[in-house]
């Protein structure tokens, strides 16, 4: 019984085989996780429905950002550099001095905050030309989103002492209501395009 053993399979090459497979997977692996700017497109307006009056937003409530075919930036009628865009947008969203040409503030009851004055109708409108380069367009979008996120983040830290991402659902909704400022992508216009 002790003498006659079943011949063992030599497992010495097991490591080699496993290494071979390992190297194959190492080479084919792409670790990159996809990241991107999440956006929601507006649905196609129903042609049978009349445009309601909500569409008419007062001029002071809109931050008009235009990018032309030469990738130049026009914000509220002024040519600015993209590096200034974030601060301009932040000022627009907050409107700290209740300026006349900035969004109108209305008293509103928001959970956690109580009665506060918010710029309910503030909208950021992004218009581009057919000739605009996509990279610039996305950089502008990035700045706009960054400005809004920063403002919301500051509010979250002021109120709860933690960043916006760590808030629970109700808190997030409240902050979003406080600083709403949706970014609308207008249909592009062909102004002096190629």
């Amino acid at each position: 019984m002790a003498r006659r053993e079943v011949q063992e399979i030599n497992a010495g090459s097991m490591a080699d085989i496993a290494f071979l497979l390992l190297i194959f997977f190492l080479v084919t692996t792409t670790m990159d996780t996809d990241t991107g700017l999440l956006r929601q497109l507006p649905p196609i307006p129903d042609p049978t429905m009349e445009q309601d009056d909500d569409q008419q937003i007062h001029q002071r409530n809109i931050l008009v950002v235009k990018v032309n075919k030469d990738n130049m930036l026009l914000v509220e009628g002024e040519i600015i550099d993209i590096s200034e865009l974030r601060d301009v947008t932040k000022e627009f969203i907050i409107n700290p001095n209740d300026a006349e040409d900035m969004p109108e503030k209305i008293e509103k009851n928001i959970p956690f905050f109580g009665m506060v004055r918010v710029a309910k109708q503030a909208v950021i409108s992004l218009q581009n030309d057919y000739g605009t380069t996509y990279g610039v367009y996305l950089a502008v979008q990035n700045e706009l989103i960054a400005a809004r996120d920063e403002v919301r983040n500051n509010l979250a830290i002021q109120t709860w002492g933690k960043p916006y991402e760590e808030l629970n659902e109700e808190q997030t909704a409240a902050v979003n209501e406080y600083y709403n400022a949706p970014i609308s992508e207008a249909e592009p216009k062909k102004i002096g395009g190629e």
Binding site: T30, L38, R39, I44, Y130, Y134
Partner: protein, 161 residues
């Protein structure tokens, strides 16, 4: 062989037991097997997505469909030209094909997930907006409203070129 035996026979360095080496290698192997995502489509266009700081991670890759826009690869430019083109799955397509593509992609998802479908746009940064706008319009018509502009995550945008 004899050399080894002699050294163990005396009080030389202890031999390291390599019996657990396959286990360790297998562990690594399984790790890489699970994280590996095989490239599903073969790109026929050059896409360098722009940099951005505010990108969010794509959490559920199986809910995403991809639309690629960019110039055809240099070796394909003789046949397809150098104008930016749209690639869906493995072939060049036109804007009008997007609606069918979206319908098909939506069909392939579970019914519960269909509302969560997301379209990731991988667009070369030097593309002009005209084709991008056309695609966006087609997506709106196809009622695929959740989109994502793919980007490379960076801490700061340094240049726009």
């Amino acid at each position: 062989m004899s050399k080894f035996q002699r050294s163990t026979g005396k009080k030389g360095a202890q031999k390291i037991n390599t019996a657990s080496l396959p286990d360790i290698v297998f562990m690594l192997l399984f790790f890489f097997m699970t994280v590996t995502v095989m490239r599903e489509v073969e790109l026929k266009i050059q896409v360098t997505v722009p940099d951005a700081t505010e990108g969010k991670k794509l959490e559920k890759k199986n809910l995403a469909s991809f639309i690629y826009i960019g110039e055809p690869l240099p070796n394909l430019q003789a046949t397809f030209g150098s104008e930016p083109k749209i690639q869906l799955n493995d072939a060049f397509k036109e804007v009008d094909d997007i609606q069918d593509f979206i319908a098909q992609e939506r069909e392939s998802l579970d019914e519960a997930d269909q509302a969560k479908m997301l379209v990731s746009l991988k667009i070369d940064k030097n593309t002009k907006m005209q084709i991008v706008s056309d695609v966006k319009m087609a997506l709106r018509r196809a009622n695929a409203l959740k989109i994502m502009y793919a980007n490379i995550p960076v801490d700061e945008i340094t240049s726009l070129d």
